[in-house]
Structure formats: structure tokens, C-alpha cells
Amino acid sequence: MSIIEVKHLYKEFKIPKRQEGMSGALRSLFHRQYLTKPAVNDISFSIDCGEIVGYIGPNGAGKSTTIKMLTGILVPSSGYIRVNGLIPYKERQRNARQIGVVFGQRSQLWWDLPTIESFELLKQVFQIPAERYRQNMARFRKILELDEFLHTPVRQLSLGQRMRADIAAALLHDPKIIFLDEPTIGLDVVAKERMRSFIREINRERGVTVILTTHDMSDIEKLCQRMILIDKGQVMYDGELAKIKETFGKTRILIVDLEEEIVDFSLDGVEVVKQEGNRRWLKFNRDTITASQLISRISENYNVRDISIQDPEIEVLIRNIYENNLPSEQAFTNKAKP
């Protein structure tokens, strides 16, 4: 059952056109020209209950604009949009009760007050029953280790602590859907991992639908079964993560350490993309030759000390999709270092 449905969604922004020079500046005081810039340009997708979806794209692709329309703070220019049956911008306050939102770059907590006070305020705002509040708090305190800073004013929290408090704040009222806008931005490795396992847990245990935007591909790899890739306001890819690798990542790199220095190393169907001393980086296409075939052919002709295979990295694949609008063969030549 789909909980979010978006069909042919558009959002245009009117930007005042700057005119050159002093006279232009004067002229624009009286007569302003506008450029219309489409931020979201015909986007459609639907998300099922309980999914974790990575909504990704480069800066300015329209990610945040979409999220803002789903949360009801932006009004679409046109198109169909439903969040659990509600039209977000028309029923903003009702929609607010069924969603939770975390903006990695801004806090929803009350800056000057001890963290616990913000939670208590949210209890009143969402009119959370006392028993439910107590249970949720007990849980979040344990999993997110909130106790260490519950009585510290929010402005004195570290970024990691603040993010933990913020995600707890977003989940306190048991939302059906949670929007996470770069929830791991600026966090260290440990904090990122903790955040991810928490997201997985609430998804598994409470069936919360998660929509996640991020620039960190490992967030996607570790959390999402599905990703929607957008660029220039349009959907570039919507599907399983594994499939992206499958479709766009046919080429791999075989790294071979040879016993002795060989100047004219070559093999049919294989391209040497890099060399360093006795080490060679060989690019091959999975469809034309399998790794084991390749390895046996190399060891027939050369003395090999060591061998390893490099998978295309998702990040590189995606970068190439953005840059070229199509899957690229070079998906990992740039990345081909040991």
C-alpha cells in the first residue's frame, strides 16, 4: 500500500533577473523582469508503507524542494501529491501530526533551554498521551543515549548529540513517515553508524516509512533498499540499489601484482588503466570475460604474486550518471587506486 504518492509534480521559482550596471539596477527598481526556474520538473513516484527510500541527487537537484512539498511547507506549482491521504500544503497542520522531519542543518529544539524541555514542549505540542511519552522517552534515552546531555542546553551540545536529540524529537509523536534531510551531515564515523542503526531499528520495529536525502553514499548503501536518483528536477533512476550496480557497473578492475617488471604487458579485451611498479590495474567488462577466465589467462603468461578485484563504487557510478546523464564506462577509472 503506498503511503506517499506524487504524480507529475512541478515547482517553479520566480527569480528576479539582474540587470547589468548602475542603470540596470535603477531600471530594475521600477520594472523587474523575472526568470522562471523549474526546481522540480515533472516528478512522479510512489512509496510504500515501511520502505526506506534514499532520495538523492547533487546540490540543487530539487531534493529539498520535493521534501518541502511533501511536508507541506511549499506549495507545488502543479501536480498531484498525497501523503497518507492528505494534501500536505492544504492540511499542513494535520499532516504535521503524521510526519516527523529532521533537517541535518537546522535544529528543531529550543536553543536556550535544556534538551529535556524541548521534549516536554513537543509533548504538549503534539498532545502525546503521558504514558506514550514516557515509553518513547525511555526507549530513545536508551538507544540514543540521551541521558548524558538531557539537562544540557541545546546550544552547548556537540553536533552528534544534537542530531540524536533532533531525531528523537522528530519521532516522539509516533509519526508514520519520517523525512530525514541529511541526517548524518558533519557526524563522525561512530556517530554516523549509531544514527544509521537507529534508523534501521525504528523502521523495523515500528514500520516507520523513511525518506532520506543524503550526500553520503554509505548511508544509502547501508540503509536503503531503494533509491530515487534525481537531477535537474527530474527522476534519473528509481529502483533497487543493487540494480544500479548491475546495470551501470559492468566494468571492473583487476589489480595484479607481478613478480617481475614487465614493460609490454598486454592482454586481449583488457585495458591497462594504470601502472605503478609491478602493479597493473586492468579494466575488463564482465559480459565479455569473467574474472576467473581473466585470472587464468594472466597466470598462464605471467608470474603473479597477488590479485584483487575492485567493485565499482556506487558513489562513482552515481557521479557519472549525473555528469553524463548516462551510465559511463569510466565509472571507476578515476577511482582506480589501491
Binding site: F13, S64, K68, T71, G72, I73, L74, V75, Y89, R92, Q93, R94, A96, R97, I99, V101, F103, Q105, R106, Q108, W110, D112, L113, E117, E120, L121, Q124, V125, F126, Q127, P153, D181, E182
Partner: protein, 268 residues
């Protein structure tokens, strides 16, 4: 319904607590208020020097007027929705407010009531009690005069609040609102009778002022307080305040409805 008010009331409580965390700010504001009082006191003293009364208003009445006016202005200064809304729109934090199941203008009002009452209890009330004992100004002599003054002052607060928030909401369209801000603060300092009572205005200016909502903010409650406005004359003045409050609040709701549809969230 009761639950809803409990929620807004929670904002009042939290904001009261928050004010307590910034006591220094509170004290510096008191200092500013006292300085302003000193300046206006001296100006009026100089203007009255050698005269028993001007336009039938004695110096003592005028001093009383300035004292109560400064006390009220002190209370008003504890909440500045114009700056608050500007900051939120500029930083984009307004998004968070829109993601909550409450009415933002109303929650702002209740929040400001918290900081206002903290400031009133800890600063304005003790300070002006001392000042009043020292200067012996005209104060309301009957319970009904006190009651009418408090009612009028409360109406004035709400009129100012609605107007200021409405002006603040223009940030949604303009982002930079220096000009709008100036218009608001200029109008309020002139037409509200905050430092010059309307009875000293030349006729043409007085008739302009009487057609604007600002006089209801300070002039009417001040005049009731010092006894210049009394008896039969009070009722139309209060009615005028009520009408302006309804208009200003209606305007606020209208602008808010438009603004929240038109939002551009800054950054990310």
C-alpha cells in the same frame, strides 16, 4: 479546546524560563528604559520650564504621562515579533514552525507573554514602584479606573502585537525589510503618543493620528491612567481600540494566510 490552550500556555511557561536564562539581557533593557525615561523627563521639564501648564495640562500630569508611558513601553519591549520573524525567515528556521500542528502567530503571542511577564515581574514592576513612590505621579484613584486602564493597556498590547507581526510577515516577500521596519517604528513612535501625547499635536496631525490604529497602543491607556481621559469619554476610546484590534487582527490573519502560501525557505 482546553488541550489547545494548554499547549499554547506551555510556550508561555517555556519562554518565561528562557528569559530567566538571559537575565543580563533583561537588566540591560531596564537600563535602556531608564535612560529613555531620563531623556524624555528632561525634555518635558525643559519645555515646561517657567510655565504652570500647557494647553491645560500641568507639568505634573505630563510627568505622570511619561512615566506610565515608559513603563508600558518597557513591557512591550520584552517581545519583538518583528525581529523574531525576520530572523526565522532569513535563516530558514521558519520551516520548523510550519511543520508544527499549531498556529504560528498565536504561538508567538503566547511565547511573548512569557518573556513579557518575566520582564514585568522582575524588572518593570519593582523599578516603577520605586520611581512612582519617588515622583508621586497621578495614578488611578479608583478600582474602576485601574480596571479600565488595565483593559485599555491590554488592548493596546494586542493592537501593537498584531501590527508588528503583520509588518514582520512582509519579510516573506521582501527578505530585506529595513524600510518596512523603519515605517513601523516611525509610525509607532509618533502616532501612538508614546512620548508626545496626542493633545499636543497640531490639529491636522491629531486628526491623522485619530484615524490610525497607533493611538490605541499607548495614548489611550496613558490618558486613562493619568486621568485626562475619564468618565463618558472613556467608552468611545475603548470602543475605538476594540474596533482597531479587530481590524488589525483580521489584517494579520489575512497576511499570514497569504505569507504561508508564498514561503521561500532560505537555504537547504
Amino acid at each position: 479546546m482546553i488541550k489547545t490552550y494548554r499547549m499554547y500556555w506551555e510556550f508561555t511557561r517555556k519562554s518565561f524560563q528562557r528569559s530567566a536564562a538571559y537575565r543580563v539581557d533583561s537588566w540591560s533593557r531596564v537600563l535602556g528604559n531608564v535612560m529613555s525615561l531620563g531623556i524624555w523627563g528632561c525634555i518635558w521639564f525643559a519645555l515646561y520650564y517657567g510655565k504652570g501648564s500647557v494647553e491645560n495640562i500641568s507639568f505634573h500630569s505630563m510627568l505622570s504621562y511619561i512615566l506610565i508611558s515608559m513603563a508600558l513601553q518597557g513591557i512591550h519591549s520584552a517581545g519583538t515579533p518583528l525581529w523574531e520573524i525576520q530572523r526565522r525567515v532569513r535563516t530558514g528556521d521558519i520551516a520548523i514552525e510550519l511543520l508544527r500542528p499549531y498556529d504560528y502567530p498565536l504561538r508567538m503571542l503566547f511565547t511573548d507573554l512569557g518573556s513579557m511577564s518575566f520582564y514585568f515581574i522582575t524588572a518593570i514592576f519593582p523599578l516603577y514602584t520605586v520611581i512612582f513612590i519617588f515622583f508621586q505621579p497621578n495614578i488611578p484613584l479608583s478600582a474602576s479606573q485601574w480596571g479600565l486602564f488595565i483593559l485599555s493597556a491590554a488592548l493596546g498590547y494586542l493592537i501593537r502585537y498584531s501590527l508588528e507581526l503583520t509588518f514582520g510577515l512582509f519579510t516573506f516577500w521582501l527578505v530585506e525589510t529595513g524600510g518596512v521596519e523603519d515605517i513601523f517604528y516611525f509610525s509607532i513612535s509618533l502616532f501612538s503618543g508614546s512620548v508626545v501625547p496626542l493633545w499636543f499635536f497640531p490639529d491636522w496631525l491629531a486628526s491623522i493620528a485619530s484615524l490610525l490604529p497607533f493611538q490605541g497602543i499607548y495614548f489611550v491607556p496613558n490618558a486613562i491612567f493619568v486621568g485626562e481621559l475619564s468618565g463618558q469619554a472613556i467608552l468611545p476610546a475603548l470602543l475605538n481600540q476594540v474596533i482597531w484590534l479587530v481590524i488589525c487582527y483580521g489584517l494579520l490573519r489575512f497576511v499570514w494566510a497569504k505569507a504561508s502560501q508564498k514561503i521561500v525557505v532560505q537555504g537547504g
